[in-house]
């Protein structure tokens, strides 16, 4: 892709995002906090509005017209998500509140009934708290042991160490696909194949990969995959769990309530078929339908195109960052043409604290994240109390990277003076 085309993609989609057309602190907003949450295109916003204005109704309950319409839209969104991640069946997609809830669902339902004292769960040190705490809780309940894969010299997943760690005792591997801090793309295919050799199940936290690259769960052969709607142009309050059909069938219910039942008696009940077995209570209907719209929107652009464009931005971003001697980035450097890592950079700037950086950048209209990004153990491992993070999306431009870099240099200069 050439520079001209690259400009074209961001330029094409830019007007779809009303929130980007504003000034913050008197400067045009440069939103570089996409790993925390993405912005929403008009299509998604209008889908929410249309639902509430035209067919708000409960799903799977009424016989009336609006209920049928809401149910159709809610289930159609599930089809869209299933197609988006190439699931074999629509029944393999369970709506959850977010990725955290999806992981907790697996930890409680599958974990509690399948793990015993001495069984091993392998995670990595780069996991988001949402893919760590549910397993800590499970380990406390069952007596299972947590083991952690560390990083290579280039601050990537240590596949060699994983190879020597996985064994017949391993019952579960839960690992992030793309790290929200390091930006590395983990060798998920190899991890899954290795784990399966020992009969271990694998859960993939795909929050940072689903919004940015094509995902094929069948090719990946993961047992579960979780993602969050709000990071992929959808609303908050909705995410999904993908699980292999037989595996989901074998799992007991997580939450009990309406919607997830077949026959209910006073002393017992039978449960609905998949996926509704795991969707107790009135779901986030508008949000699910709008997530379907987000999937339409991303599919329309093409995930290949998004990945290629973001790779070019990544290359440019790292080229610029490397020219600032005070900057130390975390995770691997991008490979040729910006490939091989996510379009985000966690960094520190010598003596300037990330919060101070973030405040100064905010005055220039640039929104970045500062803190531990919900990866405290990783920060401890890296001996970084906190980092700043710029995370990009397909609607960001090179010009925005320039604004960010200029503001970053000024901030360093501002503080550099006092340390000089």
């Amino acid at each position: 892709m050439t520079l001209t085309q690259e400009k074209t993609l961001a330029a094409q989609v830019r007007t779809d995002f009303p929130i980007l057309q504003q000034q913050v602190n008197g400067k045009p907003l440069v939103y570089l906090d996409n790993a925390a949450t993405s912005q929403k295109p008009l299509l998604v916003i209008n889908t929410l509005k249309d639902y509430y204005e035209q067919y708000n109704s409960n799903v799977h309950r009424g016989v009336h017209t609006l209920s049928a319409k809401a149910t159709d839209a809610y289930e159609a969104a599930r089809d869209k998500i299933a197609n988006f991640v190439k699931a074999a069946s629509r029944q393999e997609i369970v709506y959850t509140r977010n990725a955290s809830e999806a992981i907790n669902l697996v930890a409680y339902s599958w974990g509690t009934s399948n793990l015993q004292k001495g069984d091993e769960i392998i995670l990595s040190v780069m996991e988001h708290h949402s893919n760590l705490i549910p397993w800590q809780l499970l380990a406390q309940r069952t007596g299972a042991l947590l083991k952690f894969v560390e990083l290579t010299e280039t601050e990537e997943f240590n596949l060699g160490q994983f190879q020597s760690m996985v064994s017949d005792r391993t019952k579960l591997v839960a690992v992030v696909h793309v790290s929200n801090t390091l930006g590395c793309i983990n060798p998920i295919q190899e991890i899954i194949a290795l784990a399966h050799q020992y009969g271990a199940r694998v859960l993939v936290d795909a929050c940072q990969s689903v919004p940015h690259m094509p995902i094929n769960v069948q090719q990946m052969d993961c047992d579960w995959l979780v993602a969050s709607g709000h990071k992929m142009c959808g609303p908050t309050g909705i995410g999904f769990l993908y699980g292999k059909l037989d595996l989901l069938r074998s799992m007991p219910p997580f939450l009990g309530g309406g919607e997830m039942i077949a026959d209910v008696f006073l002393d017992h009940a039978t449960y609905a078929d998949l996926p509704h077995k795991f969707e107790a209570g009135t779901p986030a209907i508008a949000e699910a339908i709008a997530l379907g719209a987000a999937v339409d929107y991303l599919t329309d652009i093409g995930m290949d195109k998004i990945y290629a464009y973001e790779a070019e931005l990544t290359e440019y971003l790292f080229e610029q960052l490397q020219q600032i001697p005070e900057i130390r980035t975390y995770g691997p450097q991008p490979k040729v043409a910006g490939l091989g890592r996510a379009a985000l950079a966690a960094f520190t700037a010598s003596d300037v604290h990330p919060h101070d950086l973030s405040t100064i950048l905010d005055q220039a209209g640039v929104a970045i994240r500062a803190g531990h990004h919900c990866t405290q153990p990783l920060h401890r491992y890296l001996v970084a109390q906190s980092t700043a993070r710029a995370s990009l999306s397909f609607y960001n431009t090179r010009e925005e990277v320039d604004v960010f870099i200029t503001a970053l240099k000024e901030a360093i200069e501002f503080f550099g003076g006092i340390f000089g």
Partner: protein, 159 residues
């Protein structure tokens, strides 16, 4: 970028206290000890206090910690003005500082160097950075002895 707003926040005095803190370390002996943190951002502070023989006056305050310029400068400035203060006076100052962060108060003449932190009130997300040290001080003073508390006191619970 116009740095004028930024300069209101990061005044020279603040930057100097950040760059060359005068009160880093631990008091000898330690009569009060308290750790505080802002869990959402990871900033931490460890305060130690030396009191007089009757235990009602602060003779020395020192701090250790990791955090942003605002948090660290606030701790150093606080330590500066606390020497010789009675405990109930110090507790009043905690309240006054927290009011100042809401734009509702300032310090009288003899403690006016603390007023340099007033600019923080214009940056609502940074107020907790400035408050961390004062919040930790309050917990330290309200703890009866130097029972070395391993627990962090969170500055974010009341927010």
């Amino acid at each position: 970028m116009t740095l004028s707003n930024v300069r209101d926040l990061y005044q020279q005095v603040i930057l100097e206290h950040y760059k060359k803190p005068k009160h880093k370390g631990k008091t000898t002996p330690v009569h009060r000890y308290q750790k505080g943190h802002n869990p959402s951002c990871g900033d931490t502070i460890e305060l130690t206090l030396r009191l007089n023989e009757t235990g009602d006056t602060i003779e020395d305050v020192k701090f250790e910690g990791e955090g942003c310029a605002i948090a660290m400068a606030s701790a150093d400035l606080m330590a500066d003005v606390l020497r010789g203060k009675q405990i109930d006076e110090a507790l009043e100052m905690v309240q006054r500082f927290q009011s100042m962060m809401k734009g509702q108060a300032e310090f009288p003449k003899e403690q006016r160097k603390l007023n340099v932190m007033q600019g923080v009130a214009q940056f609502p997300v940074r107020i907790k950075c400035a408050n961390l040290t004062w919040h930790t001080l309050k917990a330290a003073l309200e703890t009866a002895s130097s029972a070395s508390l391993e627990e962090f006191i969170s500055n974010e619970k009341d927010d």
